[in-house]
Assembly symmetry: C2
Homo-oligomer: 225 residues x 2
DNA sequence: CCTACCGATCGGTAGG
DNA sequence: CCTACCGATCGGTAGG
């Protein structure tokens, strides 16, 4: 809440207060958070013990407390990384002016982001009730921004006739669900994130929606029929 | 696996083996399962203790074992009720011949079913890794049937040009995600299941898709544009 | 980053 | 459906 609100993994630098966290420390920290996400995904937050985590990292449980204040903080670090990653990717779509292209890019980015980090997003979506209340408030604020970005894009696309004239919030939740759900069924070997993202775009925007980014020169085609 | 594969809450009838479970017993059983779903939704399966459940039912923990063999079985009963409810509702859409109407009905039923029982589906979707392996296999089989029904409906709608020509499995997962996600954000006081269901239908099938059931006389209209 | 250890919680059982 | 209770697990700490 006070001085350390800046970013990712700043809290608890090294041992000495006035030193930057060493690169080794930061790397180990990242490794801990990533492994924790995998364990909590597989077993759930409560059943995934710190002994499990320590074993996976070839440590003793007590050593984890050198990096993390509590198991609850560890969960928060996973949540924060998930929402921050997703938010920063999504925000890069905001300068696309064409409503149809903007919505297509949001859909694609969202589907691919989640397909790429299924562990983090499994924990993010399924362990929410386990997040301590104070951490929860912080996450919820970012999540609201997320929803608002999608709702605005839906409203703009509807106004232009690129999609049906749906209510913005419901339309946004529908699209968020469609794309987020990927973490439940996606299998990296079998499934292709790009192909699935395109399916979502086709379903919502009609068969020949623009690919993404500035690259494609805005191929405008009539929707299905 | 053997003789008791028939249905809902048949296992462990009364105490005497040859008697039907009494109505009071069945009612109490239902109450236990419903309350457990609420507790597991709020706290998760592991953190929601049998003491919590017993307290909510005004019982002692040990008394729960009169009704349920283990906590694991209790979880299974929740899963089984969730998937069985959803499956039987969805199967009533299968006799709709028009692909567009059939898909619309599936979308509507799915969204409304889940919005109506958020506790059961929260547990179903979020506590899956906690389900014991033998129970899991049984649930997975029913879930596959579920997916296949949606995939077929998507393929039929695509063949007719009612939706974009997407790959059936991806299209089905997209629609399942869009509608299932409702349990994450739906607030009974604020939100309207029907309105959201219609939003999903409009988004996928274009602005003026049929309402549902045999009632609406197949209003065919050109999709968005 | 480790060894040793504590207090609390929890699923489940005995026996009625 | 209850009282009493056990064994195991787990987050966390002391102290280095």
């Amino acid at each position: 809440m006070s001085a350390d609100s800046a970013g990712t993994a700043r809290r608890r630098p090294g041992r000495p207060r006035h030193t930057e966290p060493s690169p080794e420390y930061r790397a180990r920290m990242t490794e801990i958070v990533e492994t924790a996400a995998q364990i909590f995904r597989a077993k759930g937050y409560d059943a995934g013990s710190l002994d499990d985590l320590a074993a996976a990292l070839d440590l003793r449980k007590a050593s984890l407390y050198y990096y993390v204040r509590s198991k609850a903080e560890l969960l928060y670090l996973i949540f924060d990384r998930a929402i921050s990653t997703a938010l920063s990717r999504i925000e890069s779509c905001l300068d696309i002016e064409d409503p149809r292209e903007r919505l297509a890019s949001l859909i694609r980015d969202q589907a691919i982001t989640i397909a790429q980090e299924p562990s983090f997003f499994s924990v993010f979506f399924d362990q929410r009730p386990r997040l301590a209340a104070d951490y929860e408030a912080e996450i919820r604020a970012k999540e609201r921004r997320y929803l608002r970005i999608f709702a605005k894009a839906v409203a703009a696309a509807a106004a232009e006739g690129a999609i049906a004239p749906v209510e913005a919030r419901y339309g946004a939740q529908a699209i968020l669900g469609m794309t987020s759900w990927v973490y439940k069924w996606f299998e990296p070997g079998r499934d292709d994130p790009e192909a699935f993202a395109q399916t979502c775009i086709d379903l919502v925007l009609g068969p020949s929606a623009p690919a993404a980014r500035p690259s494609a020169p805005g191929t405008k085609t009539a929707p299905a029929g």
